[in-house]
Symmetry: C2
Subunit: 351 residues, 2 copies
């Protein structure tokens, strides 16, 4: 690959996890921006807000009172998109009008009792508690549900409506589109190439280094070769691990550490609390626990929207929605910028 050439000219790259292509037009960063600029100042978030339904000791919409929790706290979403007992929509199985029942459960998980911290500002032991709770929820909900989606929407720009550090866990009686697609791609890759896709990918990226942002003995965070969002990353274990529940104690420690380092770099990039949506993908659960899922490798996707500064995001709109995703800098350029950032959080340096 001629990196001088691809820095100056558009080309396509293949995403083997989704069987799609992305248009990389690095020269587009040169265009001026006169469009929407996001509100830059961070609202001052108090450590405890008596009106925030996520804080310890407060009353939620349904009248329940939160315990005085010390680390994580999980409760059922008061306005869930998935409920356990939804009836069948009725039968109307014309090929153009197909519907199916959807059942599930939506949980909210607070990371910490304080509203004014985020994962990169938390201590390693507190981040490990988050990871342990994720694994616990995977065991509980995964015992019956085929897919348990852990995800975090961070920042108002990503539709997050509560500043308290938290994520969500939606479990469903169906495999969602993205899970089905990723399952198919990983399965076919194993069949054709004899090795799990992401296990091979992690090894090759560890050798090449040009897209690595942070790494340690058990984990690797890269801007994937096929990244669509400007500073998108993929967090991968080095060992073949199918689910969050299979991580050893040492791997959980390593995960806490690499998350803190990656998210600190994210915050340092534009000196703001970096918005993103992130989530975990691992082998399906419920009935799939009994099946062979060797093709699966656990991983987390980080999809951050910012492009140029704290105020200017990438819009995935017209061409992207109707034709194909397009990015304005190469993944190698993004990785290099992130890699070169300090690992101390700008907020802790300032004080």
């Amino acid at each position: 690959l001629d990196y001088n050439r691809i820095r100056e000219h558009q080309h396509l790259r293949y995403n083997p996890l989704r069987d799609t292509w992305v248009l990389v037009s690095a020269h587009r960063m040169k265009r001026p921006w006169s469009g929407q600029v996001e509100k830059e100042e961070e609202d001052q978030v108090p450590q405890h807000d008596p009106n925030n339904p996520l804080c310890p000791g407060n009353t939620r919409a349904n009248g329940e009172v939160n315990p005085d929790y010390n680390n994580t706290f999980v409760f059922e979403n008061d306005f869930p998109a998935l409920q356990p007992n939804a009836p069948d929509p009725g039968y109307n199985q014309h090929p153009l009008f197909q519907s199916k029942a959807a059942r599930g459960v939506c949980k909210v998980m607070c990371f910490h009792p304080w509203s004014d911290v985020t994962l990169p500002l938390m201590t390693l032991p507190d981040i490990i508690k988050v990871i342990d709770k994720w694994a616990e929820l995977m065991v509980d909900l995964g015992s019956t549900y085929p897919w348990v989606q852990i995800f975090e929407n961070k920042g108002a720009m990503m539709g997050c409506s509560n500043p308290h550090p938290h994520c969500q866990v939606w479990a469903s009686n169906f495999l969602p589109n993205e899970a089905t697609l990723s399952d198919r791609c990983q399965r076919e890759y194993l069949k054709t190439h004899g090795e799990p896709l992401l296990l091979q990918y992690a090894k090759m990226e560890a050798e090449r280094q040009e897209r690595v942002v942070v790494q340690n003995a058990d984990w690797l965070a890269v801007v994937p070769y096929w990244a669509t969002w400007p500073f998108q990353t993929l967090l991968l274990p080095r060992r073949h691990v199918q689910r969050l529940t299979n991580l050893t104690a040492q791997e959980r420690e390593g995960l806490a550490s690499i998350m803190k380092r990656l998210l600190t770099k994210y915050d340092n990039l534009f000196q703001i609390s970096f918005p993103y949506s992130m989530g975990w993908h691992g082998a399906p659960t419920g009935p799939y626990l009994k099946e062979d899922q060797f093709h699966w490798q656990l991983h987390a996707h980080y999809y951050p929207p910012l492009l140029r500064s704290a105020g200017v995001r990438k819009f995935m709109v017209g061409y992207e929605m109707l034709a194909q995703e397009q990015r304005d800098l190469t993944p190698e350029q993004a990785a290099e910028r992130l890699r070169n950032l300090p690992e101390e959080h700008y907020k802790t340096i300032e004080t």
Copy 2:
């Protein structure tokens, strides 16, 4: 289908054009919203802005001076994502690191000399000129390029950086992801069911009426059964038409009229200039012009982001990006609301 049931409970619906499912959780509209609110006031746009590179007579970034145009005006994007002569990225064809050359051209098309109008506020003859120019560009660029994507990003919320009424036309030497997917779905549908997918769909929706927003002799605008965006619509000809270039003069008149009616309803919904991304999909061009494309039916997709009001949008974030798209009202509810809106534009009523 039991419409009382589906209004109260979540279920899945199948999108036959993309072979994916959408989660419909109508009861979620009840949840309170304390997240990001968009700037509601519309900036006052002058009819002519001497500094706007899209206005007649002004100078653009590359030093060219716009003509004193009277209806449409097309020029090459000064910061194109696709250029005609990009070199091959070089060969690196490991299955996990695949790249390909991408070549093409990006054009900008102004709809009208004035900055303070939008399509629904334009006269029918002026809208017909836009349609004729679209068809002309399809002929020109489609003579060599396999895919010519016409799309409009409208509103700052949709990444539009210039208030002057305009769309973009990106032609490429490859079929983008969405084109490939839609082509496959339509091709398989014809093979299995003996009729083009969207031709059959338009007939069935015309009979059922429950998702129809506006219709005339030649066209139908529906909130599709599988809509993901809250007020998404699909604009379809009633006759089997494969490409914009195949529309008769009467069909172009009918299209101008239905676009004006649909977009007026959109603006009237929240009494603002309704943001959206829209675009045309039709049979591929270039080398495909010589092939049988009977499975294709021309159509336009409108993807508007607003959900509750001029200020509150739908965020397609964590669960949607990592698992599956989710909507908060049924397509039937959305269609009913749009259908019941007046067809006179709120701005012309006020005066």
